[in-house]
């Protein structure tokens, strides 16, 4: 099975993963910055497909990170994935973007049985979720994702750039203090879950916050 994975919940990233490939990775790319998704994502995907010699017809499914993440960036990945899936006529699945960091933790020497994944939600808040990990299993989402101030997080080891930002109040793992969700791990997670028959999410974004719009109150009358 060949999957194109896309995530723009923090940085822009995309990957081609397949259970036939070594380490199940065919190609991947990720940007460092969090504010230029609209420029870099499509060229990145196009270059990746052409270098790998893969066309839309070869792809079996698409996977997109549905957040949580800053809204405008998050939508750029979902809009891209939905459109590609529509044109190619391929199924599109969603995954919580934090799952990407969780899998990366699980595959590292830093793995612990229970931990948090934390990303930057801006406005002095973080997006976070609690995962559990059993030997040889994929990390399991136990609670979340939520958005809150870092000081309200459960007292557990915390992984991801959001933890790194608030190292004064959370137990941030130093090796993961700048880590962002990456489509590469999202794709691998999707491959494993689809292989085990698990149903994934649809591509509905996890905004977690309402739009800031305020319904205007009645106009104040003079006197």
């Amino acid at each position: 099975m060949l999957i194109l994975a896309i995530d723009t919940s923090a940085v822009a990233s995309a990957a081609l993963v397949s259970d036939d490939a070594p380490e199940s990775v065919i190609a991947s790319f990720a940007t460092a910055d969090t504010r230029s998704h609209a420029e870099v994502l499509a060229p990145g995907i196009e270059a990746m497909l052409s270098e790998a010699g893969v066309s839309g017809a070869d792809i079996d499914a698409l996977v997109v990170g549905v957040g949580p993440g800053p809204f405008t960036g998050l939508r750029s990945g979902i809009a891209t994935a939905r459109t590609l899936a529509f044109v190619w006529g391929k199924p599109l699945h969603g995954l919580v973007s934090l799952d990407a960091v969780a899998l990366q933790v699980a595959e590292s020497t830093a793995a612990v049985p229970e931990f948090l994944v934390v990303t930057d939600a801006r406005r002095k808040e973080v997006y976070w979720a609690r995962y559990s990990l059993a030997d040889g299993q994929l990390p399991l989402l136990q609670d979340g994702p939520h958005v809150s101030v870092a000081a309200e997080l459960p007292d557990l080891p915390a992984f991801g750039a959001g933890a790194g930002l608030y190292g004064d109040v959370v137990e941030a793992h130093p090796e993961f203090a700048a880590e962002q969700p990456d489509a590469l791990y999202l794709g691998q997670s999707a491959l494993a879950r689809l292989a085990s028959g698990e149903a994934l999410l649809d591509s509905t974004p996890l905004y977690l916050r309402e739009s800031d719009a305020q319904v205007p109150g009645p106009r104040k009358r003079a006197l």
């Binding site: 420029e39 499509a42 939508r75 891209t80 459109t83 529509f86 800031d212 205007p216």
Partner: protein
């Protein structure tokens, strides 16, 4: 690429309308629009984040519908065009990302185009009743009035040479309508609500200010002031609020119809007089009216009268093509293809304040 009768798909998402249109050359094949206007009603104005969320969910269904309406397949399309600005940044982003993905998935060339110039592009579509081709006259003026913009442009070449003669320096005219409708308790969108109530009012009952009309802003034809062809509507809105407060302070009933009529007269008067002035002083003999506020009956009437007395022909496209839509984007895209302009590629960024001098982005 077929450059004589190109089949072009246009995508628009700069404000609250998700539009996908299809044209072949100058023939309109489909104009599908999904609006999030209903979701903004309780806020009394467009909320950018709500508009962006709606674009994301509306895009693929709107695209599918437009292809069905046009009876074409994506594979048949020669080029894709998308609004890359000006507009709401987050809203533009959705259309731009979708358009780029469409270009990647189909391998079709992509044009990043200017929303304001696209409003003029609809004037080139064949007359729907007669099927007749409509050439834009040389040295065309375009008066664009909507909730997001108020501009007077000069179009020397729609594909390569567009000039901004004047624009609002604060609120767009449609925005002023929305704000005043809220003050008067008339609901959203303000344009049609005020237009309706104003018919029963006396436009001369109250005299509201015409922004930027004092000599220090106007100057003379030979020595134009800093805002000779520009507009300002924020002072007008404040004047309406003060007026309402004075009636309330005196314990008198608010003459809503008179205020609406007088407000509308102030807006329409200053828009049409400055537009006609700009045209006269630039030797412009034809002017096209575009934007959602073109639906306003009084604006069409007064602008029509003043153009006629100045010997200027006023062109008003069908109203469904005046409001934001994908057909206008496709229409301009087709003009670019036919003029041999090269596509923009997929590396560009949306630009919420794209100037009108930039008709399409270079590769």
């Amino acid at each position: 690429m077929n450059r004589t009768q190109p089949l072009v798909l246009g995508i628009e998402s700069s404000c609250d309308e998700t539009g996908v249109g299809v044209v072949r050359g100058t023939t309109l094949l489909a104009n599908t629009v999904s609006s999030s206007m209903d979701e903004h009603v309780r806020f009394g104005g467009v909320i950018p984040e709500i508009a962006s969320r709606a674009h994301l969910d509306a895009f693929v269904p709107t695209l599918e519908q437009a292809l069905a309406d046009a009876g074409v397949r994506l594979a048949d399309v020669d080029a894709i065009a998308v609004t890359s600005g000006p507009g709401l940044a987050g809203a533009l982003m959705v259309g731009v990302c979708a358009a780029k993905a469409l270009a990647v998935a189909t391998g079709k060339p992509l044009y990043a185009i200017n929303h304001l110039v696209a409003h003029v592009g609809v004037g080139l579509l064949d007359d729907r009743a007669t099927g007749k081709n409509q050439d834009l006259p040389a040295n065309l003026g375009a008066l664009l009035v909507s909730g997001g913009h108020t501009e007077i442009l000069r179009i020397n070449s729609i594909t390569s040479d567009v000039e901004l003669l004047g624009a609002t320096i604060d609120d767009a005219a449609g925005e002023a309508y929305d704000k005043v409708a809220r003050i008067l308790g008339l609901g959203y969108p303000g344009g049609p609500a005020i237009d309706k109530v104003a018919r029963n009012g006396n436009p001369k009952a109250i005299r509201f200010p015409r922004g930027l009309t004092q000599p220090k802003y106007m100057g003379t034809a030979d020595e134009p002031g800093p805002h000779r062809y520009d507009w300002s509507f924020s002072g007008l809105k404040t004047a309406v609020a003060r007026c309402v407060e004075q009636f309330e302070a005196r314990g008198e009933e608010i003459p809503v119809a008179d205020i609406a009529a007088a407000f509308q007269e102030a807006v329409v008067d200053v828009i049409s007089s400055k537009a006609v002035l700009a045209c006269r002083e630039h030797g412009i003999k034809d002017v096209l009216l575009g934007g959602g506020v073109a639906a306003n009956s009084r604006l069409r009437e007064l602008t029509g009268q003043r153009c006629a007395s100045a010997g200027i022909r006023l062109h008003v496209p069908p109203l469904d093509l005046c409001t934001d839509n994908g057909a206008m984007v496709a229409a301009l895209g087709a003009q670019l293809v036919m003029a041999g302009v090269e596509p923009s590629g997929i590396g560009f960024a949306p630009d919420s304040s794209l100037p009108v001098t930039s008709v399409s982005l270079p590769a």
